[in-house]
Amino acid sequence: MRRCLAVLVIVLCSALAQGTAWARDRDELVIGVTQFPSTFHPSIDAMMAKSYILATTRRPFTTYDANWELVCLLCTTLPSLENGMAQLETTPDGKQGIAVTYAIQPQATWGDGTPVTTRDVLFTWEVGRHPETGVSNLELYRTIWKIEVKDDKTFTMHFDKLSFDYAGINDFLLLPAHLEESRFRASPRDYRNRTMFDAEPTNKGLHFGPYTITEVVAGSHVVLELNPTWWGKKPFFRRIVVRAIENTAALEANLLSGAIDMIAGEAGLALDQALAFEKRNGRDYRVLYKPSLVYEHMDVNLDNPVLADVRVRQALLYGLNRDALSSRLFEGRQPVAHGFVNPLDWVHAKDLPTYPFDPDRARALLDEAGWTDIRRGIRHNAGGEPLTVEIMTTAGNRTRELVEQVVQSDWRRIGVDARIRNQPARVLFGETVTRRSFPGTVMFAWMSAPENVPRTTLHSSHIPSPENSFSGQNYTGFRNAEADDLIERMETELDRDRRFEMWQRLQHIYADELPALPLYFRSDSYILPKWLEGLEPTGHQYPTTLWVENWRAAP
C-alpha cells in the first residue's frame, strides 16, 4: 500500500508540474513584497505596501525622485517664487503665508474616462480636513486655508505657514470626486468604512496612473493591468502582479522557484539576507543596493539620571565598534551614521565629531563620570550602584536583534552591564516608546524625506507626556533652547545658504549632545532578474513604482 501511495504522489506531482506553466511571458512581471496593504484608500493608514501598489495606479502632484529632487508628476510645472507660481502673502489673521499655483496634467483622466479636475482637488481637501473622517495625517490639509480654482485644471493653494519646501504637496493624494463624493456626503463619519477604495478596489474610476487594479485577493496578491486612459509613456509590462509573502525565507524560496520575478526593495529582504542571496545567486539575479533615509539609532531616555550625563552617552558611543558592525554585518553597504542627516542629503554636515571606536577613551569618560569601581567586570559608582543600561528593540526583527547583541557585547567590554529586553512591535511602539517608559535605550529607525526638519523628534514641545496625550516623537526628552530656535527658524528660511548654515549648527548640537546614539543608515536592497531594466531605486519613502512605466525587459 505504501508503494502505491509513493507512485501516486510521483504521478500527481509530475502531472501538476506539466499543468502549471511558470515560465511566464516577458510582458508580465510578478513582484514579491513582505506585506499586504490593509486598505487601498490613499490617505487612510500609511503603509509601504500600499504606497508601492498605488504608485502604479495614481500619481501625486509632486514627489522626490531618485536624485532626491522635488519633481512634478501630476502637475505640469513645479511652482517656485522665481517662476512666479508661488507668491508670498499675509494670511487674513496676519500670519506669513504663501500662495502656490499648480496646473493639472491636461490629459490626466480617471480610468473610467472622467477627467481629473479641480473638483477632485477641492473634494480631497474637504475630506482631508474634515474632523470626522479619520484621515490620520491632517497637517497638510490643515495648513491650507483656502483653495482658489482658476479653471478645470488650474488651482491655487493658500498656506498659512511658510516653509522652504512650499512647492511639495507630496502627500496631497487626489480622491475621485465623481465616485466618492456621494459616499462621503452621506456620512463623513462612516466614510472610511464605505469608501469605494475598499468596497470596490477594482473600479477603474479610482485610478489614473499607468495601471489599474483588476483583481484583489486579500492577503495574497493584487493584479495590475494597463490603464487605457494613462497620459504618459506606455508601460512595457502588460500586467504586474504584486504578491505578499510575509516570511522572508519563504519569499526567497518563491523567487528561486520562479514563482516571483523580483523582490521589491521597499518591503523586501533585510540587507544581510540580500548580501547572502547575492553571494549564492549573483549569477542569476541582479542585486541593487540604495542607501536610504532610514536612520537606525538608539534613543536614550534622558530622564534616566545615569544616561542624563553626556559623558556616559559619549562613552557608550566610543565603546561601540560601529565600523565593525557596518563592515562585518553589512559589508559596508549600510554606512555608519554620525548624525540624523544622511550624507547623501545636501544639508549633511561633513565636519561632525564622529566618535570612532575607542574603548580606552570610553573607559576614561566613564571613570570621569564617577563609574570607577569595577566589580566582576561591571562598573559601579561611589554609591555602589551598578552601571546598567537597558537595550530595547522590536522582538523578532532579526537584524536589530543581531545589532543589539553586538552592542551588548561591546558595552560589557567597557564595564557596562547592558541588558536586553525586547518587546513585540505592537507593544514597543504602542506603549513603551510612545509613553517614554523605556528606562535606558531603545533601538529603532526614523524614515524621512530629503531635508526633513526634525521638529517632531527634537523640538522640546514634542516630548510626549500625559498632558499632550502622548503625541509628538521626541521620545528621548531632548530639551535644547538653541535647537528649538534653529528648528523654528529653518522651516521658514527660504534662502538655501542660510538654511544650510542652520542645518550645520543643528547637526553639531545633536552630535555633541547625543540625545540618541546614531548607528547606521539602512540601505534598501532590490533583487531583480537580470533582464529587468529601468528600475531606479529611490532610497526614500516614495517608491520606485512611481516610475514603473520606465521598467522593461531586456530584448
Binding site: T248, L325, R398, I420, R421
Partner: protein, 302 residues
Amino acid sequence: MRGESVFAFARRRFLRHRLAVAGAVCLAVLAAAAAAAPLAAAALGTDPEMADLLGRFAPPSPEHPLGTDDLGRDVLVRLLYGGRISLFVGLVAAVCAAALGTVVGLIAGYRGGWLDAFLMRFTDGVIALPALPLLIVLAAVDLSKLGLPAGLVASEDISLYRIVAIVAAVGWTTVARLVRASTLALRARPFVLAAQAQGAGPLRIMVVHILPNLASSIVVATTLAAGNIILLESVLSFLGLGIQPPIPSWGNLLTNAQELVWSAPMLAVWPGLLIFVTVVSFNFVGDGLQDALDPRALERHT
C-alpha cells in the same frame, strides 16, 4: 505481588521497552551535556553571549567543533546553553502544569457537585482561551507592578519565567480532565470508602489514597507535555514572543537560523535535530512509562 516490589516490576517492564530505554538514555545524555555547558565554554575558552564580528560563520575547527554562528559565537556552546533553557522550560512548565491540573482535577472529582461543574466549565473556558492575546498581554504587563522584585524583572531571565508561567497557565487543562475522570471512578472504590468510614479527612483521602493511584497517568501526561512545550517554545520564538536574545534556546536558535537556511543551513540543522531527538525521546519514555505503570498490567501480573 510476590517476590518483586511494584517499582522493580515497573522497572523491569520499562527496561523491556527498548525504544523507551534509548529515549531515557538520550535525555540523560542531553541533560548531562547541557549541565556541563559552562565547562564546555571554559574548555573552549569562549563566551556564549559575547559577539565576535571577526569570526562570523567560521567552519568547524578544534576551537569551535561545530563552527561559529552569525555573530561569531561558538555553535556547540550555544547549543549546550540552549539545551539548558529548552529542557528547563519543558520540564518545569510541564511539572507546574501537571501540579496545577492535579489539584484542580482532584478537587473537582472528589468534591463533585457545583464545585465540579464550575471547575470543569472553567477548564473548558481556559481551553478555548485564545493564547495569542494572552501572550502579548503578558509580554507587556509591567511585572514590577505585580509585586515581583525589581531585580528579577530587570534580569534577562524574565522572558524565561514568563514562558514557563504562560505555558503552565494554559497547559494544566489536560491533566485536570484526566485526573478528574480517574478520581470520579476511584471515589467509589472500597478502599476510599473504608478510609472515609475510619474518619479520614478529605485532604488525607485525596493525598494518601487517591493520588498514588493517579501517579502513572500524571507521569505519562507530564513526559508527553514536556516534549510539546519544547516545540511550543520554538513556535513562540518564531512569533518573537519566545526567549529573548542573547539567551540561546533551541527554539530561538532554530528561528534565527531560518533566515540563514540558504547560506548556513547547519545552523538550523543542529537545533532542529536536538529538538527532534528530545521530543522523540520524551515521547518514547512516556510511552514506556505508560506500559510500565499500567495498573491493569500490574493487576494481571499479580
